[in-house]
């Protein structure tokens, strides 16, 4: 097996290309409506035979003006828009956004809220990676994987729906807390889900990881070196697959991540196969984090009680007390009152780090909000790594980078 692997290793792609006799080039347009581009990415390729000589990604087909909208919305009104950034893991975006604004407001969340958020984040990570791997497999012709992983995603959707009321567009967090507490018995059902996910993951593992076709198509394809990955600002699994040991959950813990034990998978060569392996392992680690969080789930409030001008009071108080009614009215109409300042916060989203840079001049509306989408940076490396690859590698590379256009274009 080992010697065989040596033979199928495609080696350094750029070297391979240069040995060819260059001929006339052809330009090829791929996308924006193409199954391998996962949305509306468009690639302008220049081909020499089967080899790519130049790649120019065109993005912006999903630019919806989120940053401008944010300047015209109160902080809470913007929460639904964060769902639609990385729409494969909306819960995590909600949490990242909420923590960013809370950081600006100087709010500390109670432990229960943090633990619930951690579960949300990790479930979102699982769901995103499941889809990522499923679609990645589909791009390589392994359609079965997609059906397997999507079945699991459906189970997750059911859990999300019970928690938030929506399958996809969850909008679960609020500035200073959550929309509501977790429903009764939900943790048990999450636990059941995690328990049954293990064997299924094994099955996906068995179908893909040692599959010769899969390995031939991914191993040694599009290796990204450590230096390149850093220079182009890759983050998340893509950066770790290149061998950089960086994970904000451990390096800059937020929302109480320092209380959980988990390991951070690191790749060695940064090729497409490594990126797949890193994602697979991350799912397992996320499962373990969820288990720990369920075990340790603290009691207590799930919203910041002291934040009188930020988090609306409880419904029963609004209906019976004058002061709370006014307070609720003010928060709903004028938005949570956030002090002036500048803050940048980023969290380890499934696709990489999602960052929010908020400039506030006080009041309920941000003055400027910049959203840093990880996919935006992941795609910016394409002109660098694509030349030298074969045209048939394009879907594989795109699938392995696991991007989503919603947060790339915003």
């Amino acid at each position: 097996m080992a010697t065989q692997q040596k033979e199928i290793n495609l080696g350094d792609n750029s070297a391979r290309y240069q040995s060819e006799v260059p001929g006339e080039t052809m330009s090829l347009n791929m996308g924006p409506s193409h199954p391998a581009t996962h949305g509306v990415l468009r690639l302008k390729l220049e081909l020499d035979g089967d080899f790519i000589t130049k790649c120019d990604p065109v993005i912006g087909y999903l630019h919806r003006g989120d940053e401008k909208i944010a300047e015209n919305m109160t902080y809470n009104q913007f929460v639904p828009y964060t769902d639609r950034l990385d729409y494969l893991a909306p819960l995590h975006n909600n949490v990242t956004y909420a923590i960013a604004v809370e950081k600006l407001a100087g709010l500390e969340m109670p432990p229960r809220c943090e633990a619930i958020r951690v579960i949300c984040c990790e479930l979102a990570r699982i769901s995103s990676h499941l889809l990522g791997i499923g679609v990645y497999g589909m791009d390589a012709g392994a359609f079965t994987i997609f059906l397997y992983t999507f079945t699991e995603r459906e189970k997750l959707y059911t859990l999300f729906e019970e928690l938030t009321g929506a399958r996809l567009t969850t909008s679960y967090t609020r500035i200073g807390g959550l929309m509501r507490d977790i429903p009764e018995g939900w943790l048990g059902r999450v636990n059941n889900f995690i328990n049954q996910l293990g064997p299924i993951l094994e099955e996906v593992d068995g179908l893909l990881t040692r599959n010769t076709i899969w390995m031939k198509r991914t191993e040694g394809v599009c290796p990204i070196s450590k230096e390149d990955a850093l220079a182009y600002g890759l983050t998340g699994p893509n950066l770790r697959a290149s061998g950089v040991d960086a994970d904000l959950r451990r390096d800059k813990p937020y929302s109480g991540y320092e209380n959980y034990d988990f390991e951070i998978p690191i790749g060695t060569s940064g090729d497409c196969y490594d990126r797949y392996l890193v994602r697979m392992e991350e799912i397992r680690q996320s499962m373990s984090i969820v288990r720990q969080a369920i075990e340790k789930m603290p009691d207590g409030p799930w919203y910041a009680e002291e934040a009188k001008k930020i988090f609306p009071p409880r419904k029963d108080k609004i209906l019976t007390k004058m002061e709370e009614l006014i307070q609720n009215f003010m928060i709903v109409t004028e938005g949570p009152q956030i002090p002036p300042g500048e803050v940048y916060f980023e969290a380890e989203n499934p696709k990489g780090v999602l960052g929010f840079f908020i400039v506030s001049k006080g009041g309920g509306v941000p003055y400027r909000m910049k959203i840093r989408g990880p996919s935006f940076c992941s795609l910016s490396i394409l002109p660098k790594v694509m030349p030298g690859l074969m045209i048939t590698d394009v879907p594989i590379v795109l699938g392995s980078l696991d991007f989503v256009m919603g947060e790339c274009d915003r």
């Binding site: 912006g60 600002g233 109409t333 960052g355």
Partner: protein
Amino acid sequence: MTLSFETLAKQFDSLTQRPSSDYDAFNVDADQLVALCEHLRDKEGFSLLVDVAGIDWNDQSPRFSVAYHLYSVIKQCYVRLVCACVGDESPEVPSIVSVWPAANWHERETYDMFGIHFKGHPDLRRILMWDDYKYHPLRKEFPLAGIEDELPAADVRERVDANVIAAPMMGGPFYAQAADHMSQREPSAADQSWAESNPKRD
């Protein structure tokens, strides 16, 4: 936290500290930006450029600034650099693509959204909006609803007879405007052109 302002300021005299609620933040002049970035990358280990964001200060001068966020994977800390653009009419800052290739797309985006020119950028084109779009949407004077314009592709435009219109805001955005008296702060429609058939007020 690991960056010492004093030692940095010795080397870069335009450096000033910037009020910030989280990380180290510095103001730097445009002419020292590239040298400072190189120094931070090579000597201080800030290997990752995470974000470039333009800011439009509207009625202040200098009107535009660009904020850079750097992250050090080794030291695990951030630093924010803010560089005011030279010129309010056609703002300009030096490009840092030579330091971090990651800046390429970020700067293109900032150019697209604010019209800030990055001197020395290899390929400064629009990235999010289409190529012959006339405006820079994130400037403060640009309305959220947009401005009437022509659809990108000419042949499609002819066939479908549609163009870019200002989005009907139907009274939104819907939050209380900052005003002195409570009665004026009522959450009311900022824009009263409730239907598409009614012309907009201005």
